[in-house]
Amino acid sequence: MNEQMALEPIGKNEYELFFGPAHPGSGNFSVKLKVDGERIISARADPGYLHRGFEKLMEYRLPIQNAVLSDRICIFEALNWNLIHAEAVDELMGIEIPERAKYIRVIMAELSRIQSHIIWYGVFSIGTGFDTGFKMAFGYRDYILDLFEMITGGRVYPTGYICPGGVRRDIPEGSEEKILGVLNKIDEMVKLEMMGNPALLSRVKDIGILKLSDAIRLGATGPVLRASGMKSDVRKNDPYEVYDRFDFEVPVSNEGDAYARYMIGIEEIKQSISIIKQALKELPDGDFVAKEFKKPKLNIKIPEGEVYVRNEISRGEAGMYMVSDGGTTPYRVKIRGPSFLHMIPVLEFLLRGSQIADVPAIYWSLNICPADLDR
């Protein structure tokens, strides 16, 4: 294994263990653990392997350039971050988006959410030793990536498809049937998964229990909060785009352990499939981009003001605070990622008192993306 052990005896059986980035059970994060035998006494998170200073990079670029850069905030849900940036610029400039563009944006965002949950399911399986689940997940995910390539042009990075003003180009002819075909395949995968796997169950049940009062105090959002008992979803409480017109449920559980978070992820895939089907049925005709942006202009001035946009991405609540002082580039952009609070307060809190062997299961059940933590 690749933990670099610094054997400094602290107590009788205590030592410090560096659970580092090259461990096969972890991602690009590392945690310094104080361990007594097999039990963890305390943990300290050590982020920063991916820090590029994203927020200040956006201050040097025009909004049309930022639209392409914004999908690289977190590769797993590139279209969702594209959407947040586009909403922030639209609200600052006061542009009215045509209806067809709003529906297309919702369809792409939900497809991206399904794809991100499939990755979660895949790496969660590999983290707990269930290799078949991993291979199955990444096989099914490729259907969605083919759809993305057909509509936006890129497999994982959609090249700024959702840009301020609407979307870059219309969905091609015949894509509605293709989308429905892919959704049927994903339905199959979810049915296979819901049958339950006793080996996986015993490894993740009752591990990493987070009570509701702790979850709110430490700032958890998204599936982590819903698994602890609070029914809250930004799409229902603070609706954006056209989410208030769709009929979908928000799955909640009262257990708060790793298994509950994992089952909520699977349930959300089903709800996303239902939203996409409703959106495809109601898709109106019309323009796909606002009138002001029909002929692309480079140096548009952003009016003075500030705005805070909140969206629900697959990991939790994402926010973007944008300030403009009347120039062509934004003056300050603050990106709030859900993984920032899930890794530092929540993970350190959950690791106290658990065993070393459970660290991958707890980490992957929180669904942390190191890129939107470090930015």
């Binding site: 700032g219 603050k334 920032f340």
Partner: protein
């Protein structure tokens, strides 16, 4: 477009208790300005009336005014409203009171990041160790007077290399 009754009520309630300047931007968004001295008492009151989720803490560097502006974005699950508090502190000597006694580790880790990126001191925060950067000797990176392009040209690129000459234009 529904009427903004609950947002206006919230704004009136806060303005009656504290000396503030506020406005309602649209549904579910209320913005309030407050001075540094009244910040903690206002935050305590807001936490008691239901604003239990601190979404983000951010700092904006107004170089021309010589001030840093701190913004706190608070969300209430019951009222379903986002309230943003803005306050200004001096840029040469940036000291602000910490809200970690009120919102616990959530606020503490946000302030730790702002301390590293802007150099703001938060009194009452017990852990302001560097978070992302290892062995960083330069100035706080996100301040407006630290030009990144100049830094990258000096530190990383070489003008004589023909492939990299394009970065010097």
């Amino acid at each position: 477009m529904r009427d903004l009754e609950s947002e206006n009520e919230l704004l009136e309630d806060i303005s009656a208790r504290f000396d503030t300047d506020g406005w309602v931007q649209r549904e579910r968004r209320v913005w309030v300005k407050v001075s540094k001295e009244n910040l903690i008492s206002m935050c305590k009151y807001l936490k008691e009336t239901g604003f239990e989720h601190l979404s983000a803490i951010s700092v904006t560097d107004w170089l021309k005014d010589g001030e840093f502006e701190l913004t706190y974005h608070l969300w209430s699950y019951e009222r379903k409203t986002l309230l943003t508090i803005k306050t200004r502190i001096d840029r040469e000597n940036p000291i602000a009171p910490s809200v970690s006694p009120i919102w616990s580790r959530n606020a503490q880790v946000h302030e730790r990041e702002m301390h590293e990126m802007f150099g703001v001191e938060f009194e009452g925060n017990d852990d302001l160790a560097p978070l992302f950067l290892e062995d960083w000797q330069g100035p706080p990176p996100f301040r407006k007077d630290f030009d990144w392009r100049e830094y990258a040209r000096k530190e990383y690129y070489n003008k004589d290399n023909e492939r990299e000459a394009v970065y010097y234009e």
